[in-house]
């Protein structure tokens, strides 16, 4: 094994590999920092380039690009309230509130620190626990996936700020959107109104760009928040100042976020974005000061910021061990691995252990390189806020349009983005959070499809949802959360507002 690690080191020490990681990291920074260009899209754009590379540089490029893009997505989130990638959406309000309070360096520094730690923790879990974690996920059937995605939606209800009724409106709007297109279970067309483009359903990425970015542009253009220009700060202080101590103070959050993120990433289908949502919700549930969440609080920010980078590494567990992708990035990775003769599967550890170790090493390298590069990005990013406000919306709108178009080379998606922009603007104007809608668009199909297939298998017998031990466990947890939330809302409504601050849950 020592021989193989030395061999792996010699593969990775190649200048071509190091330069590839560096170049891909810079590309990831740019892609992540531009709202509308996601880590998944960046990976897809990278695939044609990897055709000309050796296996290890090809894999290293994808690893580095994804890790940096997920962090870079936090930067426009903090400065413009537009998550650069969906993975930053969970805590975008938190980071933006810190910027509004004149402390952007605090939020961004925490994001960077948490991202590096989360990525490294995720990598070590990947290295040590790959076969074990994948075994757990492998035992999941449709019924477990149903409960798991329902749990994700339940979390969305927790994250929904303020009025749960408004959160529910947003959630149901998202679920409605998720039903458009070909029903994957029956093959029937739903709400397509004769449009071929709608048959593919509403594409999540243009919808997200619209809900988060275009609505913001609309709001600025219509001048409803005229003070916005003053709110986004001009000054981003030194990132390093006091960051170490701050991270140490939040060590529990960062550690828990890293681990939760990695585990969620390892579950097939759930990626960095869902990991961030869940970690944020977990952080809020277990916080001593949950009422501070959404107002620029550090706990959820650090926890979710660590979770999304941890999830990136976690997603590789089932990918490498069983050839089953853990998220949309690794779904693309599998194609590259096979093309490069790196057949993912349990035997890869026996046949090409040095290549597996080399991949692990590139993970460590990519996450370490994130620190100096991220620091540079934050320094450079403050120029974004120095750009005259009137200049930014057109530039952002253009990149939004390019991003929406590029994901599927479809002009229809540009239209989807614009429509959702208007919807998002209407939502915001009425105090309805847009985040639950996005999560519902992502998970709605999963919940429904797994519900339907479970019912097909069980011939409509509802007992099937509790017939398997893991499913029963997940189901009980989900239902308990519902009952608990309902009880809490009921209790809060009955008690005078002054008692809200001293909840002990």
């Amino acid at each position: 094994m020592v021989d193989q690690i030395i061999l792996a080191l010699s593969i990775v020490a190649d200048p071509q590999v190091i330069l590839t990681i560096l170049a891909a990291s810079v590309m990831g920074m740019i892609i992540g920092a531009i709202p509308g260009l996601t880590a998944v899209m960046g990976t897809a754009l990278l695939v044609p380039l990897t055709f000309f590379m050796d296996p290890i540089p090809a894999v290293a490029a994808i690893v580095a690009l994804a890790a940096t893009a997920i962090f870079a997505g936090d930067v426009p989130g903090a400065l413009l309230r537009m998550p650069g990638t969906p993975a930053s959406a969970a805590y975008v309000d938190e980071a933006y509130a810190l910027t509004k309070a004149g402390r952007p360096e605090e939020g961004l520094g925490l994001c960077l620190g948490a991202a590096v730690i989360g990525g490294l923790v995720g990598t070590f879990i990947l290295i040590l626990g790959a076969p074990l974690l994948a075994k757990v996920a492998l035992g999941f059937s449709t019924v477990e996936y149903f409960w798991l995605s329902l749990l994700g939606l339940t979390c969305a209800a927790f994250v929904a700020a303020g009025d749960p009724v408004k959160g529910l409106i947003s959630l149901l709007f998202g679920l409605m959107c998720a039903t458009v297109g070909i029903d994957p279970a029956s093959g029937n067309l739903r709400y397509t109104m004769g449009s071929v483009d709608l048959m593919g359903g509403i594409n999540m990425i243009p919808a997200m760009i619209g809900l988060f970015a275009v609505s913001e542009i609309l709001r600025q253009a219509l001048g409803r928040t005229g003070s916005d220009a003053k709110l986004a700060t001009d000054h981003v202080g030194s990132v390093r100042q006091g960051l170490g101590a701050h991270l140490w103070k939040l060590k529990r959050n960062v550690a828990r976020g890293s681990i939760v993120g990695t585990v969620i990433g390892a579950l097939p289908g759930a990626g960095a974005d869902i990991a961030a949502w869940v970690a944020y919700a977990v952080s809020r549930r277990s916080s001593k000061t949950p009422e501070k969440f959404g107002t620029g609080h550090d706990e959820g920010l650090a926890e979710a910021g660590a979770a999304n980078n941890g999830a990136l590494s976690g997603a590789w567990v089932p990918t490498l061990v069983f050839g089953i992708p853990g998220d949309s990035i690794t779904a693309i990775v599998i194609g590259v691995l096979i093309l490069k003769g790196l057949d993912p599967g349990p035997t890869i550890f026996l046949r090409q252990p040095e290549l597996v170790y080399a991949i692990f090493l590139t993970f460590i390298l990519a996450n370490l390189i994130l620190w100096p590069l991220g620091w540079l990005l934050i320094r450079f990013a403050r120029h974004i806020v120095r750009v005259p406000r009137s200049l930014l919306p057109p530039v952002v709108l253009v990149t939004c349009i390019i991003g929406s178009y590029a994901i599927n080379n479809s002009l229809f998606d540009v239209g989807v983005m614009l429509v959702f922009g208007v919807v998002g603007w209407i939502f915001e104007e009425n105090g309805i959070p847009v985040a639950p809608a996005i999560l519902a668009i992502v998970l709605g199909g999963t919940v429904e499809f797994n519900f339907t297939t479970t019912m097909i298998k069980a011939d409509g017998d509802l007992i099937a949802f509790f017939a398997r031990p893991v499913a029963a466990g997940l189901g009980v947890v989900t239902l308990a959360l519902w009952i608990f939330t309902a009880w809490r809302v009921y209790r809060d409504r009955r008690k005078p507002p002054s008692d809200l601050a001293i909840q002990t849950d």
């Binding site: 093959g187 593919g200 093309l339 479809s410």
Partner: protein, 321 residues
């Protein structure tokens, strides 16, 4: 004045002749290949491998563009609606044979020109490791156990692997719907569900099952093809087991209907050279996919034959509209 007009008209005629001549030199500008499925998938990979070779042969850049969505309808529609000049072509998959049957889109084989099949992937019968001693034992169980005992997956309703399950039942002399079909979004989740115990059959491709078979989690018992797969030399074909049924998924290079013959010929010729190259052959074999390049005429016949049997099975499965 009249002379001027005459020379102008002559000029116009000459110009149009000129463009006619340019058409003969197809291609004189970049060619777009539409892949109706996502980046990184099987169709995408096969097409991109071939496009790299095709680029060298044609001497023009080839842009592979993914137009995924709507179970392939969106991309196939784009191919069918493209101007038939050879500058927008695509990668057609078996769905072109039954879009209309399933009521998904008014698209039939008549809307496409098949240049050639690029590769085929046969269906197979895969079970959880250790569940059945042999293919014979499993086939006997499918016949003797009551309907609904077996549930299979691998694709959406009406997809190729659904037909494989229906066709297998029929070939065993049972109703097409005897094997319950649970839709899935691709082979990987279906195989995982097989391991997790949510299903007891997988009628998708043995290629998709390769990694889990190597891991000892699942076992491929039979291949629904006329010959054994090179990646599974010990797994018998259905024909060897005395059952006359085969079903192969295919990837084809195609264009809209009415593609000029010289364009089809040129693509067929250039594609044949590119396809025979070491890069394409080894890349396909590495994935366990059977490389095929049978030209426009033969592949059109093969696709028509596929369409006929596929549509018959879909009617029996009760999913035809």
């Amino acid at each position: 004045m009249k002379n001027t007009l005459k020379s102008l008209m002559l000029g116009a005629v000459a110009l149009s002749l000129g463009t006619g001549a340019a058409l003969a030199e197809y291609p004189d500008r970049p060619v777009t290949v539409i892949v109706p499925w996502g980046a990184g998938g099987g169709t995408d990979t096969v097409t991109r491998i071939l496009a790299a070779g095709l680029e060298q042969e044609l001497g023009q850049p080839i842009n592979v563009v993914n137009r995924a969505g709507g179970n392939g309808v969106v991309g196939h529609m784009a191919i069918a609606k493209a101007k038939p000049d050879g500058y927008t072509i695509g990668a057609c998959t078996p769905e072109i044979a039954y879009f209309k049957t399933l009521g998904l889109a008014p698209l039939t084989l008549d809307d496409f020109t098949i240049v050639s099949r690029m590769a085929t992937i046969p269906a197979g019968i895969t079970v959880k490791a250790g569940a059945y001693e042999s293919a014979e034992a499993l086939l006997e169980a499918i016949k003797s156990e009551p309907a609904g005992t077996f549930s299979s997956s691998g694709s959406g309703v009406g997809g190729t692997w659904h037909m494989a399950a229906g066709g297998l039942s029929k070939a065993l002399g049972e109703p097409a719907t005897k094997i319950k079909f649970v839709p899935s979004q691709g082979g990987a989740p279906a195989l995982q569900d097989l391991v997790a115990g949510g299903l007891n059959l997988f009628t998708g491709s043995p290629i998709e099952a390769q990694t889990l078979a190597d891991a000892g989690e699942v076992e491929v018992l039979a291949v629904m093809s006329d010959e054994r797969l090179s990646s599974y030399p010990d797994v018998p074909t259905l024909k060897e087991l005395g059952i006359d049924f085969e079903l192969k998924n295919f990837f084809s290079l195609c264009g809209p209907a009415g593609l000029p013959d010289e364009v089809t010929a040129k693509l067929e010729e250039a594609g044949a050279v590119a396809h025979a190259g070491e890069a394409v052959q080894s890349a396909l074999k590495e994935r366990g996919i059977t490389p095929v390049w049978d030209g426009s005429q033969k592949s059109t016949e093969a696709v028509e034959a596929f369409s006929e049997s596929a549509n018959a099975i879909l009617v029996d499965l009760g999913v035809a509209k």
